[in-house]
């Protein structure tokens, strides 16, 4: 039994920890207040340097942490909320998982900031953009570093807000604003679940602080699969569904591509959307106590992975393809969580952050070169014009398709091996999704970078490789996508080579106590592992070859808008009409009901009552004025009779 995590007494370390989120916050305040007053160069310097500083401090913290025997600690600052039994401190929890997420968030965040400096340089609201992404860094770090569910929720809402602000960044366009609203509303649905989950945690365990909750949960006497734990875990998962775009709350993520491309890379691919996985992983003790929930998560995850992958097959917008691919990969991560392959899930989060950020930034570079053209039907042959983008994008594609030795291969293979052990059906679906992933990604590459240029003459003359501030992040992320997988070398290549698994082992301590059976290591023999690995590689390569034959050899180009499609193709192209379905079953009834409420309740009843009082007053005064005849005799008469009446009443009643 691990003891409760102790607070650190070292003031200097505490200050460093505090600086990590505060620096981007300072950047937000400076750039936000000085939106237009500060020169662009200075804005990008402030924006990037604050995040770089956070990254460097995180690295220092990480080195210090590992040097001191990897003992998790909390950094307490002050009592934040203290009401009755409820004690919520403003404090950070520094452990293996936090540090990993912090490194990922600040590291990738820095490169995306750097990229933005080039990508957004023509935008008039440059300062606003940097202010928002700095605020995002702050919220995300708060989410990751907080040592209790309430702080996580604060960060959770913060990143949601930034996501909303940045999707609607170009707020002159109504469609973009609608996309932002959609993201916001869908996330609120999830957040309700998350919030209820937190309440239930507090009621059940009497605390919301991670160390206490998990210690309590480890000794939970209600047994595995008790009702309250299923409720807690399901409610938390609803929150994760919203943030990490799982069925049925996934339709906001593809629409979120309305935001600037660096935002898509940072928020909607690498960091915020993985918050759901982080949250489930953080609560691993609770989840191992509720295998039923895990089963549901696995099913939702695999369904999302397959569904989103099929939609990805037929999209023609370069960013939409990547967006559906993100949804699909997030489905994979939840699938891994569902089969209790927690480390594989975070491994995939990490590698996915590398290659998906790379892919989005590559897409941004293409869009930048193509003068804001996003439709791959009008691209083609770009490899000659954008060599760095092409090579890095190809690396990203190889990584996501799961071709060795790129990062995605290791994480996806490990993940699928765990799924195989758990259920063959889920594994089959996972491989199917993997096949489709490989196909649509290579389709994207071939249509964009191979063949002949299909855009306009004006676009062709404008084609250029992106500036250094944009290509540098591409190169760095490409390197990470190439070597990132070696963090998790599977056991068949050598025992104890899986650095990540060993590193993360302590965060499952409570889970091991709570449900020892659930946390047993995988026992696949090597032959099976080789077979699984072979199958997934073969599937990826076959899909790539099919894509090559279709889009390079046969030079097929997706049909233009408005032409007739086969029914199935049409269904997929229109994303299964899910948006339309939601529109019919949710949006329209609400609109209809609000129209009725507007007309009946508001216009008739409420307005009727209010106006009625006004009318009554006017009408009665208009009538009563005739009583004011001016005849003194009449007034006196009224007075006397009134007095008599009062006396009578007094006599009979009083």
């Amino acid at each position: 039994m691990q003891e409760i995590v102790m607070p650190i007494n070292n003031q200097g370390m505490a200050l460093l920890c505090l600086l990590i989120p505060l620096l981007p916050l300072a950047g937000f305040i400076i750039n936000g207040l000085g939106n237009r007053a500060i020169a662009k160069g200075l804005v990008s310097f402030i924006g990037c340097s604050t995040v770089l500083a956070s990254f460097l401090i995180t690295v220092y913290l990480f080195l210090d942490f590992t040097a001191n025997g990897s003992r998790a600690y909390t950094v307490d600052f002050y009592d934040w909320i203290s009401v009755g039994d409820m004690q919520i401190g403003f404090s950070f929890l520094i452990d293996q998982l936090t540090l990993l997420m912090m490194l990922m968030v600040t590291g990738i965040g820095f490169f995306i900031h750097l990229y933005s400096a080039g990508y957004m340089s023509h935008d008039e609201n440059f300062g606003k953009f940097f202010a928002f992404i700095n605020l995002f860094m702050f919220s995300m770090l708060l989410l990751v570093m907080g040592s209790n569910y309430v702080m996580m929720f604060v960060g959770w809402e913060g990143v949601g807000l930034c996501s909303y602000l940045l999707i609607g960044f170009w707020n002159r366009n109504t469609n973009y604003n609608n996309a932002a609203k959609k993201a916001f509303v869908m996330n609120r649905i999830g957040d309700l679940g998350f919030l209820l989950g937190i309440f239930l945690i507090f009621i059940t365990f009497g605390s919301v602080s991670y160390p206490q909750v998990f210690a309590e949960a480890a000794q939970y006497t209600g047994g595995v699969d008790s009702g309250v734990l299923i409720a807690i875990t399901l409610l938390l998962f609803v929150g994760a569904m919203g943030k990490s775009a799982q069925i049925p709350l996934f339709t906001w993520l593809p629409d979120a591509m309305a935001g600037p491309t660096p935002v898509s890379a940072l928020i909607h691919a690498a960091t915020m959307v993985t918050a759901g996985i982080y949250m489930v992983l953080r609560s691993n003790v609770l989840y191992v106590l509720a295998p039923t929930t895990l089963e549901i998560i696995a099913i939702v995850g695999v369904a999302t992975a397959v569904l989103a992958a099929t939609i990805g097959l037929a999209q023609n917008d370069i960013k939409k393809v990547l967006a559906y691919s993100t949804v699909s990969q997030l489905g994979y991560m939840f699938l891994a969580l569902g089969v209790m392959a927690f480390s594989s899930s975070i491994f995939h989060v990490l590698t996915h952050a590398f290659f998906k950020a790379l892919l989005f930034l590559g897409a941004g570079s293409v869009i930048h070169a193509m003068s804001n053209e996003q439709d791959i039907r009008f691209m083609g042959g770009l490899r000659k014009y954008l060599p760095i983008t092409f090579v890095t994008f190809l690396i990203g594609t190889l990584a996501i398709a799961g071709i060795p030795p790129f990062a995605g291969f290791f994480s996806k293979d490990e993940l699928l091996a765990h799924v195989w052990e758990h259920s063959k059906v889920l594994w089959g679906l996972g491989v199917l999704a993997s096949f489709m992933t490989s196909f649509y990604m290579f389709r994207l590459v071939f249509l964009t970078f191979f063949g002949t240029f299909r855009g306009t003459e004006a676009q062709r003359s404008h084609l250029h490789e992106s500036p250094f501030s944009m290509t540098l992040p591409l190169i760095v992320l490409a390197v990470l996508s190439t070597v990132g997988g070696f963090l998790g070398i599977p056991p068949i290549f050598g025992e104890n080579m899986h650095i990540l698994q060993g590193y993360l082992a302590p965060i499952y301590n409570f889970a091991r106590v709570a449900n020892p059976r659930a946390m047993e290591p995988m026992h696949l023999d090597h032959a099976t592992e080789w077979m699984l690995m072979g199958i997934s590689v073969a599937v990826a390569i076959v899909a790539a070859i099919i894509a090559y034959v279709m889009y390079v050899s046969k030079r097929t180009v997706p049909v233009p808008e408005g032409s007739r499609l086969s029914p199935l193709h049409n269904l997929i192209y229109n994303k299964y009409y899910i948006d339309e379905l939601y529109d019919t079953i949710v949006v329209r009834p609400i609109m209809w009901m609000s129209a009725i409420f507007h007309r009946v309740l508001d216009n008739m009843i409420v307005d009727g009552v209010v106006n009625g009082f006004g009318k009554l007053t006017t009408y009665s005064s208009r009538t009563l004025r005739f009583a004011q005849s001016g005849a003194i005799g009449f007034y006196l008469m009224v007075m006397v009779f009134s007095i008599v009446l009062i006396l009578f009443l007094n006599f009979f009643i009083g």
Partner: protein
Amino acid sequence: MNNIPEVIRTIPLDYYLFFSAALFVIGVIGVLTRRNAIVIFMCVELMLNAVNLLLTALSAYRADANAQVFVFFIMAVAAAEVCVGLSIIVMTYRNIRSTDVQLLNYLKW
């Protein structure tokens, strides 16, 4: 020599009551029926005096000085009222050459 309360008590209380009631009613009827403002005014005085009489009588019979204090208040207020009221009537007369209250209907809507 008998003091004043004893003199008052030589007549039964009922007499006072009936008498002041009659006076009061005459005052009310006068106020309600007459059109001359000065007469109405006198009728008001009549009502006040009816009340004063009643208060004095009861004060004497009940041996309670409070009522007599009230009488003095009423007298003071009545004097002030006459002062204001009569000047209003005089002004009215100067303006419309009449003290008929039926003609004074300018205060309507």
